[in-house]
């Protein structure tokens, strides 16, 4: 089972660095096994390239089990490829057919500049979290965990929002390169928990302001983000963020 019998043509975006102009380059790859993951197929390609003295394709990846959110390939026009509910690293070659041509591009957004080849800079997400995606509680300040009962439905809903892995597929697929699904997931997680209430309206204002400052586009409710999110983060979160934003701006007296 070590090698398979699939032959594929890959068209991969190669770009030397942030300043250079990039282009799609064709690669042929043979003996691909359907049991390989998509990234393992890239490993094989890179081994070939190193053997030939060429530079391997640079891409982000780490845990390879769909949770770290590092991998980020735009495959045949879709983030993380043709299957729903998974990341690139969980995509297996059995989802493709012998003879296929596969186009692989980096996430594209002004706020996600390309670093090299398929690797992009997603630190904008960190800055958004740093602007307010937390509950201000210093270590040692906590009360007993069970002193604050939270209805299961609410806790589960907060968890579903918290499942976001910060991969950026939502931005990549959105025709407007909007980051609202990502931002709303964090706002929504904390807004649904009693611990998150004291900073609820502060948080939504700061995070939205930072999101806008990063140069992401505006949401037009196409729903592509929700459909492509590997963790199934729901559009309900965006609606909840909008609600909180209006409350913050038009009801709360604290303006940020």
């Amino acid at each position: 089972m070590s090698t398979g019998n699939m032959n594929l043509t890959l068209k991969i975006w190669r770009q030397k660095n942030n300043k250079a102009k990039g282009n799609l380059v064709d690669y042929k790859i043979s003996e691909v096994s359907p049991d390989m993951s998509f990234l393992e197929m890239f490993d094989v390609l890179n081994e070939d390239l190193v053997a030939k003295g060429e530079e391997p394709v640079v891409f982000d990846h780490d845990c390879r089990e769909g949770i770290c959110g590092a991998c980020s390939m735009f495959i045949n026009g879709r983030p993380h490829g043709p299957k729903e509910g998974i990341t690139t690293c969980q995509l297996h070659m059995r989802s493709f057919n012998d003879g296929d041509t596969i186009v692989v591009e980096p996430w594209r957004a002004k706020a996600f500049p390309v670093i090299k080849d398929l690797m992009v800079d997603r630190t904008a997400f960190d800055r958004i979290i740093a602007s307010g995606g937390f509950i201000s509680v210093n270590t040692g300040n906590a009360q007993d965990a069970n002193s604050l009962p939270i209805p299961k439905v609410q806790a589960d809903s907060a968890f579903e929002a918290a499942a976001c892995i910060g991969c950026g597929a939502c931005v990549a697929t959105c025709k407007n390169a909007s980051a609202m699904l990502f931002v709303s997931a964090k706002i929504s997680q904390l807004a649904q928990l009693p611990q998150g209430q004291p900073e609820r309206y502060r948080r939504v204002q700061s995070m939205v302001a930072q999101m806008d400052a990063e140069g992401f586009g505006n949401c037009t409710n196409t729903g592509a983000c929700e459909a492509e999110c590997p963790k199934g983060i729901s559009l309900e979160n965006i609606a909840r963020m909008n609600r909180d934003f209006y409350s913050a701006k038009f009801v709360s007296e604290e303006d940020i």
Binding site: P56, D62, C68, K152, Q189, L193
Partner: protein, 659 residues
């Protein structure tokens, strides 16, 4: 060279930490502002330490090689986190958690450290919940618990199969909060390549900016290594692709002793290897063993499908061998039992290197309970299975999806095929009670240190330890050192020690690029992994280990003469990064084999075939080996052994039995 003094406080076990904490020298707020602390790694230990130290007022610089601290590999922990809360009223207590951990670690951990861990475990849950970590709850709104291996109480808190993710995101948000306030300076896509030691004290690091290739000097009054474990020495493991030993290994080469390098945890429930192309292995959480039953056919080389093998022809070998703990025996025991069955020819699947993890019985049981709840009387089997599947889905949905994705099989219909895989390393940098290594001012936290798990870690204890070290231990213990450093001015970065450290890091990089050989980094990594797995893996013996040492030495020679690293040093170059990591793994691999060879006993994750009972259980030698093996680097990949005797004053050392 430093003395091997663990600095364990005097007094009763239960009083040690409390007393130390209240007598620890403090640093006043004004002084804290001028003290800089470097934190390498941003996982549970690193992020929690960086955030907490910044909250206290220290100036913190935090480094990670990932593009964001949120991607540290703690994120992949699935099952849960232990805490002695006794919310289930099942007799849990600090002592019981302490006892279970010492026993689970096969009596090779330091009593005082483990007791402290059990003491602070409850605070961790409080802290995380306060941060908004959505741990699983019951309908009454209170926290839920599940069982994990090696215990008979339910003390594991969880968030579906993503506990590590949720806890890390909690610590990450605390860290980012400090970043936003300017109290932590975050350096992502940076890799530490050298520890800078000035006059015997750790005073900074050399880090490579992975984006530009630039070597940067960073100085500080103390350096915290929170860089995780070294399971990737086996090439195939459940660790992330980037997980590495480099930070710890560079520290080791600068004088930090390496403790118990041979203690490796092989996790019993991972998805089996499917072919040579495999780049990593995926864990199926231990929590699955709550509801799954492990079996193999009673007949050797049984060609039938799992569903065609009748009940009485199945060997539930864990339940047979260990009736008291059954499927919930600790990881090392479960792994060895699986290997034993497969080696004896009872394995399943194409490779015959797998056993079944079957949810059918419990699915039906849950279905029956569910039917009862819905007032369906005398439900037929099909209804039970249907209802039960919903329950299972709720509990383990994401794990089942992950399995289906990787194997192409539906685990709701067929039993999972699983096999042990490298998962965690109990060994690591030797630290004293204050988490300081043998280099003053250099600390190691979380999986990077050796301290709490002995020879085998219990499930759901890694998250506990990482967060305990970062949130609740280091913030206190570091004061003991820093309070004596108040007079130390900011460390000048043109000090000869910095110049020299940077030059040595640069020399290694230049050498990688100048070899221009024929083989890729992965080629050598795979070879190393195979040697380690075959000869220093789940079972080890003297002959194999001796062979392994020779083979690794040869591999090291080949590596330095035939390596090919494309590209240049002044750009994003992942092959170059990997070269540095594999170079360190090769040296570490040799030390692991030496340590395994030195330890003429079987304990926890270290199983020497020569030392086993007639029933195949591990046989410890408490007389001669009740010590921590702390290795000193003595130049040119040679090592000198130091011993820290382990004294058990509160627990009666006995043969571990889960029967």
């Amino acid at each position: 060279m430093a003395e091997l003094n663990a600095h364990i406080p005097e007094g009763e076990l239960t009083e040690k930490w409390t007393k130390l904490r209240s007598s620890m020298p403090l640093v006043n707020p004004a002084n804290k502002r001028s003290i800089e602390i470097i934190v390498v790694g941003s996982g549970l230990a690193g992020a929690s330490a960086a955030a907490t130290l910044a909250e206290m007022g220290y100036k913190v610089k935090c480094f990670c090689f990932q593009d964001s601290p949120r991607r540290a590999h703690s994120i992949a922990a699935q099952g849960g986190i232990n805490a002695a809360k006794n919310y289930q009223n099942d007799g849990d207590s600090t002592y019981r958690l302490f006892y279970d951990t010492i026993k689970g670690g096969d009596y090779r951990a330091r009593e005082a450290n483990v007791h402290r861990l059990a003491e602070v475990s409850a605070n961790i849950i409080d802290q995380c919940v306060a941060q908004g970590v959505p741990l699983a709850r019951e309908y009454g709104g209170l926290l839920d618990n599940r069982s994990f291996g090696g215990t008979q109480v339910q003390r594991t808190f969880y968030a579906a199969g993503q506990t590590g993710q949720q806890l890390l995101l909690g610590a990450y948000s605390a860290l980012e909060r400090q970043v936003g306030m300017g109290k932590v300076e975050m350096f992502t896509r940076h890799e530490m390549l050298e520890v800078v030691v000035v006059e015997g004290k750790a005073r900074g690091i050399i880090a490579r900016n992975l984006l530009t290739g630039e070597l940067e000097r960073h100085s500080g009054h103390a350096v915290l290594l929170c860089s995780g474990g070294y399971g990737n020495v086996f090439y195939l493991s459940t660790n992330a692709m980037g997980s590495n030993v480099t930070a710890a290994w560079k520290a080791h080469k600068k004088g930090a002793f390496f403790g118990n390098p041979c203690y490796t945890q092989i996790h019993p429930t991972c998805i089996p290897v499917s072919g040579d192309h495999q780049s990593k292995l995926t864990l199926m959480s231990e929590s699955l063993r709550n509801d799954g039953r492990i079996w193999v056919p009673k007949k050797k080389d049984d060609p039938r499908k799992a569903s065609e093998i009748p009940e009485d022809e199945r060997d539930y070998y864990l339940e047979r061998r260990y009736p008291a703990f059954g499927n919930l025996v600790p990881r090392d025991v479960a792994s060895r039992a699986a290997k034993e069955r497969c080696d004896a020819g009872y394995g399943v699947g194409n490779s015959k290197l797998a056993v079944y993890l079957d949810f059918k019985a419990n699915t039906e049981r849950y279905g029956r309970i569910e039917a009862n709840k819905q007032n369906i009387h005398n439900p037929d089997k099909e209804t039970c299975m249907k209802l039960g599947r919903e329950v299972i889905k709720e509990k383990y949905g994401n794990l089942f999806d992950m399995y289906a994705q990787i194997t192409g099989e539906d685990p709701y219909e067929l039993p999972m095929r699983i096999y042990p895989a490298v998962h965690y390393t109990m060994g690591g940098l030797w630290v004293d009670y204050n988490l300081m290594t043998t280099v003053p001012g250099l600390y190691a936290l979380g999986e990077a240190n050796f301290s709490d798990h002995g020879a085998n870690r219990l499930g759901a204890s890694a998250l506990m330890q990482g967060l305990a070290d970062g949130y609740f231990v280091i913030p206190y213990t570091i004061g003991a050192y820093l309070s004596k450093e108040l007079a130390t001015k900011p460390i000048p970065q043109d000090h000869p020690a910095f110049v020299e450290a940077e030059a040595s890091a640069k020399a290694i990089i230049d050498q990688f690029l100048s070899i221009k050989g024929t083989k890729s980094v992965d080629h050598f990594h795979k070879k190393l992994g195979k040697i380690m797995w075959d000869k220093c893996g789940m079972a080890r013996n003297e002959q194999g280990l001796k062979e392994a040492i020779v083979e690794i030495q040869q591999l090291r020679k080949d590596f330095w003469s035939d390596l090919r690293v494309p590209g240049t040093a002044d750009e994003m170059n992942p092959e170059l990064e990997k070269a540095g990591r594999v170079a360190d793994f090769i040296e570490l691999g040799e030390l692991m084999c030496m340590d395994a060879l030195n330890r003429n006993e079987s304990c926890g994750g270290h199983f020497r075939e020569e030392y086993q009972t007639e029933e195949g259980e591990a046989m410890r030698d408490d007389e001669n080996y009740a010590y921590v093996a702390a290795w000193e680097y003595s130049g040119d990949v040679t090592f000198k052994l130091h011993k820290e005797e382990l004294k058990f004053e509160n627990i009666k050392v006995a043969q571990r039995s889960y029967k």
